[in-house]
Structure formats: structure tokens, C-alpha cells
């Protein structure tokens, strides 16, 4: 079947990184209080994920086949330095783009969603293009979850909520309900 489409939709909706794998929760709960910041963080994350997918593929193909035990250290070190390098590059080449997502880049590098992407793509044995599509789906899915929660939170700021539940507790429960809604996407590809 359409392998790429299945990978993309699976990462985007059915197995959304935030809502079913709980990856990238720190920015999900910490930053998602305004729509604009969420969208920009999502953009930056998608970008880093694409870079990560390329790095992971290169590492897996050329280095880690000989030394699988170095996987974790290689992923962390290489991804962090590549992202830092690209950050410098963007700063030089396009100050506008840097302003849009630059401040988030160092934050994202230590995000578990990035490392998770590299590890999941490796475990599933994805090739180069599959990895790119997977990263794209996961990144857009992350953005989608972030923006949805930000929208809900902006609304709830204005409503009268008991003081006790305000804050992380309520955000988690909202996230739980969102996650339930996303469960509806399961089976999207098996009914055919």
C-alpha cells in the first residue's frame, strides 16, 4: 500500500508524538500558553526533526552498523552539534528566520521528542526517504498538538476555573481529553 502515506499519517495522527508517546511534554506544557509561540516552536521542532532524521540515517548507515553500542552517545552528540551549527548558519544567512525560531533551537536539542524520533526511526528500520517522511509527520503532529492545546488554554485563561485545578493539573486533563480524541484516528488504515 502507500507506504509513505501510512508512515506520515501514522506519525501525524494515529501515533502522535505528544498525545500517544508522551514525547516533548516539557515544551508541550511549558510553552503552549500562546498560539503564536506554539506555532513557532512547532516550526522549529519540525525543522530540527528533519535535520535529526538525516543525521540518524547517516549515522546508522555509515557508523553504527559497525558499532551499534555507540548509538545513544552518537545520536546525542551529533544531533546537538549539528543543530548548533545550523543555528549559527541561520543567524548568518537569514536573520528573519533566526528571529522566528532561533531562540528555540538550543531548547529543542535536549527535547526527548528529537531523540525519540531518531530512536524510533532506527528501530523501525526506516530508509532515508521514509525517515524524512516520518520526521515531517512527527513534526507537524507535534505542532498540531501544541497549537490545539494552546488554543484551549487561551480560552480557559478567561473562564472561571477553581483555583486548585488551575495550572499543570488542568493542562494534563485537557491533554488527556485531546489524547482521547486522537484515539479516534486509530484504524484509519486498516478498514480499507
Amino acid at each position: 500500500m502507500d507506504n509513505f502515506l501510512w508512515i506520515f499519517v501514522s506519525a501525524l495522527l494515529v501515533n502522535n508524538f505528544v498525545l500517544t508517546y508522551f514525547l516533548g511534554l516539557c515544551p508541550f506544557l511549558g510553552v503552549s500558553n500562546s498560539l503564536e509561540t506554539s506555532a513557532r516552536l512547532g516550526l522549529a521542532t519540525t525543522f530540527v526533526m528533519l535535520v535529526t532524521a538525516v543525521c540518524a540515517w547517516l549515522l546508522n548507515t555509515y557508523i553504527l552498523v559497525h558499532a551499534p553500542y555507540l548509538r545513544l552517545i552518537c545520536f546525542i552528540v551529533v544531533i546537538a552539534s549539528t543543530v548548533q551549527f545550523i543555528e549559527m548558519l541561520i543567524k548568518k544567512l537569514s536573520p528573519a528566520l533566526f528571529r522566528a525560531m532561533g531562540i528555540f533551537l538550543p531548547l529543542i536539542t535536549t527535547n526527548c521528542a528529537i531523540l525519540g524520533l531518531a530512536i524510533f526511526a532506527t528501530n523501525r528500520g526506516y530508509g532515508f526517504w521514509q525517515g524524512i517522511v516520518y520526521a515531517l509527520g512527527a513534526g507537524i503532529g507535534f505542532t498540531l498538538a501544541l497549537v490545539l492545546l494552546a488554543g484551549l488554554r487561551e480560552e480557559s485563561e478567561l473562564s472561571d476555573v477553581p483555583k486548585l485545578i488551575k495550572g499543570t493539573a488542568m493542562n494534563l486533563i485537557i491533554a488527556g481529553i485531546l489524547s482521547m480524541a486522537f484515539m479516534g484516528f486509530a484504524g484509519l488504515f486498516s478498514t480499507t
Partner: protein
């Protein structure tokens, strides 16, 4: 009460500064694997090992690590311990390793561990640092275990795989699915908020009573 500094460090992580329920740290690997008590314990033990091991090393060598490269050094140390934990689990308990899957390497990205190295282990003597790590890690294990137990009991009617209820128990499946993780943690945080506000009220009353006495 006599204040014993190392006991203080040990105890604060378990309740007052519980990394999960009070500081809300290290959730990424936590929620995903707490769908059963046994998974939660395995994940907790792995994190315990990594946190205590890295704190010990970081604290011992804290004078040798230059400030400029400390984060890189911490990450290398943590990643080494995680890799060791990963292979050990794979060799000893392949079944559990399969369940936890990709979430063991993700311990590296647990902000709790790097946070403790930066905030505590790199500044204090080894004994205190290890005590702090043991306390924080125990708090983390307890948090994982309570989440895992609640979710397994409600979602599967069992604890550590042993059925608790009779045939007629209809499991609340959603609790062992991802939404259950969010909901359970949300409700537990709610409970902690409630407890804290009650405590604050109580302390205020005591203070008021003392004022009126004097």
C-alpha cells in the same frame, strides 16, 4: 528535631520536592511506561541507577571538570549509564525490555537527571550528592509506582499482573491507554495542590493562634 544534612537531602526528594508530583519533571519517559506496575518499577529502577551513578561520578570529579564543558561531560556520563542500563535489562529481563522498548534510551532526555547534576551534584561533596540522588530517585520510583498501580488497577483490574477483582470487573481500558496517563497524573497533581493548600491554611491558623496568644 536534630537536623542531619544527609538525611535532609535524602528525604526532601521523596515528599517535599518530589520530582514528579511537585516539580513536574521527567514526565516524558514516565507517562508512557506507567501502564502497568511492573513496567513502572523497571523504568524506575533504571532511572534510579542512572541518576545515582551519574551523581556519584559528577560529584567526585566536580573539581576536574572545567565549567565550560560541564554540560557535555554530564551528558556523556549520563548516556554511558543509560547504555549500561539498556544492555543489562536486555540481557537479564528481555520481556520487560521489549515492553519498555525505545523509552529506555530516552532516560537520557529526562530533565530530572541533568537537572540534578547541574543544580546539586556538581556543587556539593560526594556524600551529599549521592544522598540527594537517592532521595530524588526514590521519589521518582514512588511516583512511577503509584501511577503505574493506579492505572493497572483501574485499567486491567490487576496489580503486578495478579487479578484483584472477580470475573465481573469491567476494566476501564482507557486508563492503560495514553489518555489514562494524562488523566491520572492530572488528578494526582490536583490532590497534591489540595494537600498543599490545606497545609498552608493549617499553618496560617497556627500562626494566627500564636499571634493571639502573645
Amino acid at each position: 528535631m536534630k537536623k542531619n544534612p544527609s538525611r535532609e537531602e535524602l528525604l526532601k526528594g521523596i515528599w517535599r520536592d518530589n520530582p514528579v508530583f511537585v516539580q513536574v519533571l521527567g514526565m516524558c519517559p514516565m507517562l508512557a511506561v506507567t501502564n502497568s506496575a511492573i513496567n513502572a518499577v523497571a523504568m524506575g529502577m533504571a532511572t534510579f541507577f542512572v541518576l545515582v551513578g551519574s551523581s556519584f561520578l559528577v560529584s567526585t570529579f566536580r573539581h576536574l571538570i572545567p565549567k565550560q564543558v560541564r554540560i557535555s561531560c554530564f551528558i556523556i556520563i549520563i548516556a554511558t549509564f543509560v547504555t549500561i542500563a539498556d544492555y543489562t535489562l536486555l540481557a537479564l529481563v528481555p520481556g520487560v525490555h521489549k515492553e519498555l522498548g525505545a523509552f529506555i534510551p530516552l532516560i537520557v532526555a529526562n530533565c530530572l537527571i541533568l537537572g540534578r547534576q547541574e543544580a546539586f551534584a556538581s556543587r556539593y561533596p560526594t556524600k551529599l550528592a549521592v544522598m540527594d540522588a537517592i532521595g530524588m530517585a526514590s521519589g521518582f520510583v514512588l511516583a512511577l509506582l503509584s501511577l503505574g498501580s493506579v492505572r493497572e488497577i483501574l485499567g486491567d483490574g490487576a496489580l503486578f499482573g495478579i487479578k484483584l477483582f472477580g470475573e465481573n470487573f469491567e476494566p476501564w481500558v482507557i486508563m492503560i491507554l495514553p489518555p489514562g496517563g494524562f488523566l491520572t497524573l492530572g488528578v494526582i497533581l490536583l490532590f497534591f495542590n489540595w494537600f498543599k493548600s490545606k497545609k498552608d491554611e493549617f499553618l496560617e491558623e497556627v500562626a494566627a493562634a500564636q499571634r493571639s496568644e502573645s
